[in-house]
């Protein structure tokens, strides 16, 4: 800016020098003049003073010169600075101008660029909007087309499926109808087969029952031991055949066998069950039970027990024994059958339990050879028996059968077979139930009043009168036909049916009614009995071979035959030989030897 000016800053020596000289020289001359002129006295001070004043003058001149020079330098610098300043201002103005121009230019450029971009943007936007609209329209169109196509396809498919469905449905309906028809046909076939089987089984049962009765009668009649052995063999076979018929009848839903008119004691139940199986000789019975099973259920209990015994005997070694125990419990009587044979496996046990539970009532699980447990199941279900299996302490399988209390009838401890001595007791015993007419369920427990009272009534005829027969009226009309007067009002009354009693009971009452008029004159009957006894006695004593030929005259007869042999006939002991009243009434003398068939055998199945 300010260029250094050496003259301006440092003017002193060189700039001062002329001034100083100019001043000093006149001053020195002035002083020297003054001193030369002045008197000698004043000269010295004057010289001093004059020198000093000259010096001062020189100093003042120097200072003034210096000041002038300095001012001159400052002015010069000021001028140069002003010039610089103006130059700078010019520069600045020029720059501002340039800037302004540049700005204008840039603004213009910017505006143009902006305009251009805006235009481009608008254009692009328009283009995109157009293409978007086009695309959209295209897609919309495509979508509509696709929709329409799919809708068409769907409708077609629906129609096709509906058609197929309808066809299928028609086919199934037809099939259903066909199957229903077949089912009906099968049902009717099945029911026809079942009823035919039931019918045949019923007839087989009747035949077997009749044959057993005939065999029993023959066993009574033939005293020859060989004949008896054969008859017993036939008897055993017939009993087994009867059990099979019973089984088929039970499975087909028919009733089980015959119904007994009186309660059957437990011993007879067990023996009846034993008698129907093949290996009955291997069965050992341990029973002290005095209970009896009500007549309507006795056959079922026997049958079920027979099947269980048969199972036990068949599934144990041929020489092993089967043990049967009877135990009375509050719920009834438990019959346990224990064998020492095979132990049943888990699955076998489950199958057996299921079979005896009587759940399945169909014929599905039957195999033909294993009917037994299914029969037990049916019987158990019908009569409330409970059968369970468990391992036996004997090593085999134990079966427990609970006979429920409601089909048990209390019986006096010593159950004697219904002998002729019951004849006296029977009227008294019969008078009670007919007067009080207790429901058959009443005499359940031992010592219940209906069972106790007949015993008191029978006290006079103690001998072997089973008080158990008092719980139910006398077993057979045989005992009542010679009944004295107490029975007569009962005979006059209408026959009363009670539960568990069947047509046979009414029939029995009717026959008692019929035989009532004969009662006042018992003598012909006694005569007949005596004659029969005497006939058999004579036959035995003489040992004469019968026409059929019991060819052992030596064995049977006792040569020491007592004349009092007919003596038992004094007690009215009717046995099987007592013929029908009509048949023997005409020929009382000797019916037995010549006519060994006291009653018609032709209608055992009636």
């Amino acid at each position: 800016m300010t260029s250094p000016t050496p003259s301006g800053e440092r003017p002193s020596l060189r700039g001062l020098l002329p001034a100083l000289v100019l001043t000093a020289v006149p001053a020195a001359l002035a002083v020297a003049c003054a001193v030369v002129v002045a008197p000698d006295s004043v000269r010295v001070p004057l010289a001093l003073g004059g020198s000093a004043a000259g010096l001062l003058l020189c100093a003042a001149v120097a200072v003034a010169v210096h000041g002038v020079l300095s001012a001159r330098a400052v002015r010069h610098r000021l001028e140069s600075v002003t010039q610089d300043l103006s130059r700078a201002l010019q520069e600045r103005a020029r720059f501002a101008e340039e800037t302004r121009q540049e700005r204008i230019r840039l603004t213009g450029e910017l505006d143009r660029e902006r305009t251009r971009l805006t235009a481009e943007l608008d254009h692009e936007r328009t283009r995109l909007a157009e293409s978007l609209a086009a695309e959209r329209a295209r897609l919309t169109e495509e979508h509509a087309a696709e929709s329409a196509r799919l809708a068409d396809e769907h409708a077609a498919e629906s129609a096709r499926l509906a058609e197929g469905h309808a066809a299928e449905r028609a086919r199934l309906t037809e099939e259903n109808a066909r199957l229903a028809a077949r089912l009906r046909e099968a049902e009717s076939l099945r029911s026809a087969a079942v009823s035919a089987t039931a019918n045949a089984a019923g007839r087989m049962q009747a035949l077997a029952t009749g044959m057993l009765a005939d065999l029993r009668a023959m066993e009574e009649r033939h005293s020859d031991e060989d004949v008896l052995a054969d008859l017993l063999h036939l008897d055993h076979r017939t009993a087994q055949a009867g059990r099979l018929a019973d089984s088929v009848a039970v499975l087909t839903g028919a009733r089980s066998g015959r119904r007994w008119a009186r309660p059957i004691g437990m011993e007879s139940i067990l023996r009846g069950a034993m008698g129907r199986i093949n290996g009955y000789q291997r069965v050992r019975v341990h029973s002290t039970s005095g209970a009896a099973v009500a007549g309507h259920a006795a056959e079922a209990v026997m049958h079920a027990l027979a099947e269980l015994l048969d199972n036990a005997a068949n599934f144990s070694p041929p020489t092993a024994e089967v043990h049967v125990y009877v135990e009375e419990v509050p719920a009834g009587a438990i019959v346990s059958v224990e064998d020492s044979g095979l132990v049943m496996g888990e699955a076998q046990l489950r199958r057996a339990e299921r079979a005896v539970s009587g759940e399945g009532t169909g014929f599905g699980g039957l195999t033909g050879t294993r009917l037994g447990l299914a029969v037990v199941g049916r019987l158990a279900r019908r009569y409330g028996l409970k059968v369970s299996f468990r391992p036996s302490a004997r090593g085999g399988t134990g079966v427990l059968m609970l006979v429920p209390q409601d089909i048990l009838v209390a019986r006096d401890g010593s159950a004697a077979p219904a002998g002729p001595a019951a004849v006296q007791a029977a009227p008294a015993a019969r008078a009670l139930p007919s007067a009080a007419s207790p429901a058959p369920e009443l005499p359940r427990r031992r010592g219940a009043s209906p069972a106790a009272a007949p015993e008191q009534a029978a006290g006079t005829a103690r001998a072997a009168a089973p008080a158990g027969t008092g719980a139910d009226p006398g077993p057979e009309p045989t005992h009542e036909s010679p009944a004295p007067s107490p029975a007569s009002p009962d005979a006059d009354a209408l026959p009363r049916r009670r539960r568990g009693r069947t047509l046979a009971e009414a029939e029995r009452a009717r026959s008692a009614n019929r035989s009532a008029p004969q009662r006042p004159a018992p003598t012909p009957e006694e005569t007949r009995t005596r004659a029969a006894r005497f006939g058999s006695f004579r036959q035995a004593v003489r040992g004469t071979p019968e026409p059929s030929g019991t060819a052992r005259g030596t064995a049977g007869p006792a040569p020491g035959g007592d004349v009092s042999g007919p003596g038992p006939a004094s007690g009215p002991a009717p046995d099987g030989h007592a013929p029908d009243s009509g048949a023997a009434g005409t020929a009382p003398t000797a019916p037995a030897p010549s006519h060994p068939h006291p009653h018609p055998e032709g209608d055992p199945t009636s």
Binding site: L212, A217, E219, S223, H236, E267, S268, Y280
Partner: protein, 118 residues
């Protein structure tokens, strides 16, 4: 054993072979015949077969075999088997009637003929 009102029916489910365990013979040297007198030697015990008990009750006094059979309503052969069992067990004893009481066969035949002529 059928009742008169119901031909073809018996009134007991016991089959005779179950009473004797299948035996039908009383043995070769059976002491029993129709008129042998039987006397009980002990009282019936519980658990005994009911026929045995009945026989023991019946024969507290001497009783003939035929009478026992008639009381039990069993055939004589079966009764003999039951009696043999009891005899073997020592529960009864048997004795024959005295010989003197037995009349001659001729007399019996004569009686029979006389009865037939009645």
């Amino acid at each position: 054993m059928s009742g008169p009102g119901r031909p073809g029916r018996d009134d007991s489910p016991d089959r005779l072979y179950t009473l004797t365990g299948g035996r039908s013979r009383s043995g070769e040297n059976s002491p029993f015949d129709l008129v042998t007198l039987v006397v009980a030697e002990c009282d019936p015990a519980p658990g005994m077969q009911s026929e045995h008990a009945a026989i023991l009750r019946m024969t507290e006094r001497p009783t003939a075999v035929v009478e026992i059979a008639a009381e039990l309503r069993l055939p004589v052969s079966i009764t003999k088997i039951l009696l043999t069992d009891l005899l073997d067990a020592g529960r009864v004893s048997a004795r024959h009637p005295r010989r003197e009481a037995v009349p001659d066969l001729d007399i019996l035949e004569q009686v029979l003929v006389g009865l037939r002529n009645l």
